[in-house]
Amino acid sequence: MTIGQDAIRTKGWLGAHRFLVLRRLSQSTVLLAFLIGPWFGLWWVKGNLASSLTFGVLPLTDPYLFVQTLAAGFMPASAALIGAAVVLGFYALLGGRLYCAWVCPVNPLTDLAAWLRRRWGLKSGRVPDSATRYWVLAGSLLTAAATGTLVWEWVNPVSILQRSLIFGLSGSVLVVGAVFFYDLLVASRGWCGHLCPMGAFYGLLGQKSLLRVTARQRSACDDCMDCFAICPEPQVIRPALKKVGQESPLILDRDCTNCGRCIDICGRDVFHFTHRFDQRSDL
């Protein structure tokens, strides 16, 4: 049986794709906020995801880029400092990798690759260690420090894709295509789940963040494995669902992106969004 049939039968298609639809809406809303400027002359939001100015007052700066410039030996001016602090505070409080699942434009692409892999039954390839991203993160900061330039930003697929979409630039096809085909043919969830230093950064940022998924009704689990199949970071589910190394029903792993697909896909409503202090559990 294909993944998610159970959920669609009990909750209907929309119920079984609720958070997926909301995420696609969120991702496109972010992009549209930048695009209504060049398209319709409504300059509510200027810049791009690296740094932006909303309604002429609210600066937002990507803290990972900010840290890279610090590593390169440059202290950015106050606008970038305030912008980075706002974004940093938001994700540290709410959920680090919310960025990956709800904002990042690479996510629909790697989701598509994962969907095709499931659909075509591709099992090929070799998956790198999922800690590789932390080494890439360290490497990006080390090279910035050694060279004084933002070396990673030359190849960062996240930066390149969002910038190309917002500014209508060409040239993103190579690196973005590389990510897509890597995820499709070489490593399942290879980029977002194993290599991306930006995801690693936001993960570290949100270690103690509030928004969490809980396996509150874990007694209802019938081991259908749909959540493991759909989850972009399947290793995060087991401790909460099967009490491996923890009693709490909360998914506390920093790798969890809060995408909510486990909630969607579960036909028995095991999972829910909650806050990190909610320890209610039926098991």
Partner: protein, 282 residues
Amino acid sequence: MTTNPTAKPQGKTGALPASTARRKFLNGIAAAAGGGALLTLASLLVARPAAAQPAQALRPPGAMAEQDFLGACIRCGLCVRDCPYDTLQLAPAGSAVAGGTPFFNARAVPCEMCDDIPCVKACPTGALDPQLTDIHEARMGLAVLSDHETCLNFLGLRCDVCYRVCPVIDQAITLENIHNPRSDRHAMLLPTVHSDHCTGCGKCEKACVLPEAAIKVMPLKLAQGRLPEHYRKGWEEKARHGGSLIGDQIEMPVRGLEDKAYGDVRLNGEAAPNSLNSGWKP
């Protein structure tokens, strides 16, 4: 599933003996570190050759020196959005200019030198120096009349277009009046760029009437030479000290040129009026 050595320990590794568990753990770290190093080195490989600024890509006003700029610019494009003349562009990924950084091509759209410098005000990081408040202090590049063979003024015509369009006319570009040795009876008015006033806006390059501009704005590093630190110009030192520091030169008579200044070997003592060498001194 691969192990995740940096994640919190997820219980004991089952029934594996300690040495096997340790080996698995270390192998995991090695694989992750190797992969990380590989990606990092690959990014260096891409970044290194691209770090040189191409000759026809000029940075916005107030941009730091290229090396520093590449460490300070976060590629947000706010300067591009606030440029009222669509002069500035963001470089696409994989182009000769570092991907995502702002630049302009003077021949396509030059800088209009706005008084309020909106691009500098938009920059959130200060990669475009907020200290720059007078656009005339900007040094985006330096105009160089690079081709003396095709410049119409060098051919003896009165084109003068680069001089006329210069926003800092008569300071950044002057017309130097010299004798035309080809016709021997006309003047050549040579457009001459002065680095202490040229902002590098590129209006001269944009306006050059030739199919390929004879005057081009280049990044300062490419356009300018530099004297060694220890060089002193004799005439400047002389003016500063109110006289020669090494005493007056002894003038020895030269046979046949007794009535001329020392070293003056020109046939008639008078220089042509308005010629470049009219101020000639031995």
